[in-house]
């Protein structure tokens, strides 16, 4: 059911910029009269090691875009981003730093 994700990871000098797009309705409590549907957790892993564990609320827009800067990094590092929503659905994507 989950729509596509798309991610780009680009190397800067001493850091890696990551931009990730997620398809999700991100429906709030109010919109759904008490049956919200939103991404709750976002996890970022670099070469299998967890570097970010984030909590997301209903306040985030539909089809959210997240971007963040990681310290260090090298070309070819595997960045993996996954999300889980409040209904237990999940999705993930992986890309190599370019």
């Amino acid at each position: 059911m989950a729509g596509p994700m798309k991610m780009r990871a680009t190397l800067g000098s001493g850091f890696t910029d990551v931009r990730v797009l997620m398809s999700h309705p991100m429906a709030t409590e109010q919109q759904t009269k008490g049956k919200p549907h939103f991404i709750q957790n976002v996890t970022v892993k670099v070469n299998g090691k967890t570097v970010i564990e984030g909590e997301v609320s209903q306040a985030v827009s539909r089809n959210p875009v997240f971007s963040f800067r990681l310290k260090g990094g090298a070309k070819g590092d595997k960045i993996q981003v996954s999300w889980t929503d409040n209904k237990g659905e999940s999705n993930q994507t992986e890309t190599a730093v370019a």
């Binding site: 729509g3 596509p4 797009l21 309705p25 827009s61 539909r62 089809n63 875009v65």
Partner: protein, 267 residues
């Protein structure tokens, strides 16, 4: 009576408070456009569009991969930037979405009614056409807008579009130029560009079709023009009609030379 005075004072205070902001209106529009573009999920629509493009469908169970958008069957690179143009096989000027519709009917054997059952989608369920338009337009990034301008039909379409832009019609006696004919007009946070001037038409046509952040939907140019007519209280034109394609031809020709950088993001 006291309430009325209260409201009047309030409105005056508000106008005063807003006036310094109006002085720097231009940069605020630009800031807003930049900020919305940074968070644009438009690539997700392109990804779904690509899937639909290559998916066998319709009575003939074939994909759209052999669709000829003017650069030969299956050639997508730069095709959107070279539309609208005249197509000999249908003896008609077509824009991107009309041509996609044509391919659905000819290649996939679908009826016009079935293919257009839902031309404009919503946030929960975007339409097939919107996904496809996003994918096709995305394949023209970096190409200069260069619609057809040699064939007599292309010239006639441009002239018709130009005429339609200025002709006043409908319940309110509006023309496109009623809103898009004067510098410095706006509706809320949307500028109303003077679309007959290349300066205003270029950045605009370089970013349609587009994702609209305020209602999380993807909008095609066919929708944009259709909805302008609806807002003018005229009968809504048919999808892919000569009327819509002519207006699109006029706008794209005015914007000629701009580098396509869409699908874009709108308010």
């Amino acid at each position: 009576m006291r309430t009325i005075t209260g409201i009047a004072t309030c409105a005056a205070a508000l106008a005063l408070a807003l006036s310094p902001a109006f002085a720097q209106q231009k940069s605020q529009f630009e800031d807003y456009q930049r900020m919305t573009a940074e968070g644009s999920p438009v690539e997700l629509f392109e990804l779904v569009g690509e899937e639909l493009w290559t998916k066998p469908q319709g009575p003939k169970n074939v994909s759209l991969e052999k669709c000829d958008l003017g650069k030969g069957p299956g050639v997508l690179k730069g095709a959107h930037a070279a539309l609208p143009r005249y197509f000999k096989d249908v003896d008609q000027v077509m824009d991107t979405e009309s041509r996609i519709l044509h391919c659905m009917m000819t290649l996939q054997g679908r009826s016009r009614e079935e293919a257009l059952k839902r031309p404009f989608g919503n946030a929960d369920k975007p339409s097939e056409m919107e996904y496809l338009a996003a994918y096709v337009a995305g394949q023209s990034r970096g190409f200069r807008l260069n619609p057809g301008n040699r064939h007599p039909e292309e010239k006639a379409s441009y002239e018709l579009g130009k005429k339609l832009f200025y002709v006043r019609t409908g319940l309110w006696d509006f023309s496109c130029a009623s809103c898009h004919g004067e510098e410095g007009k706006r509706i809320r946070m949307s500028e109303l560009p003077v679309l007959s001037s290349p300066k205003a038409a270029r950045p605009l046509m370089a970013t349609w079709p587009a994702y609209r952040v305020s209602n999380s939907t993807f909008k095609t140019m066919q929708w944009r023009i259709n909805n302008c007519f609806r807002q003018m209280r005229t009968p809504e034109p048919n999808f892919g009609s000569d009327t819509v394609n002519a207006v699109n031809m006029f706008l794209t020709t005015t914007a000629k030379g701009a580098t396509y950088r869409g699908p874009g993001t709108k308010r």
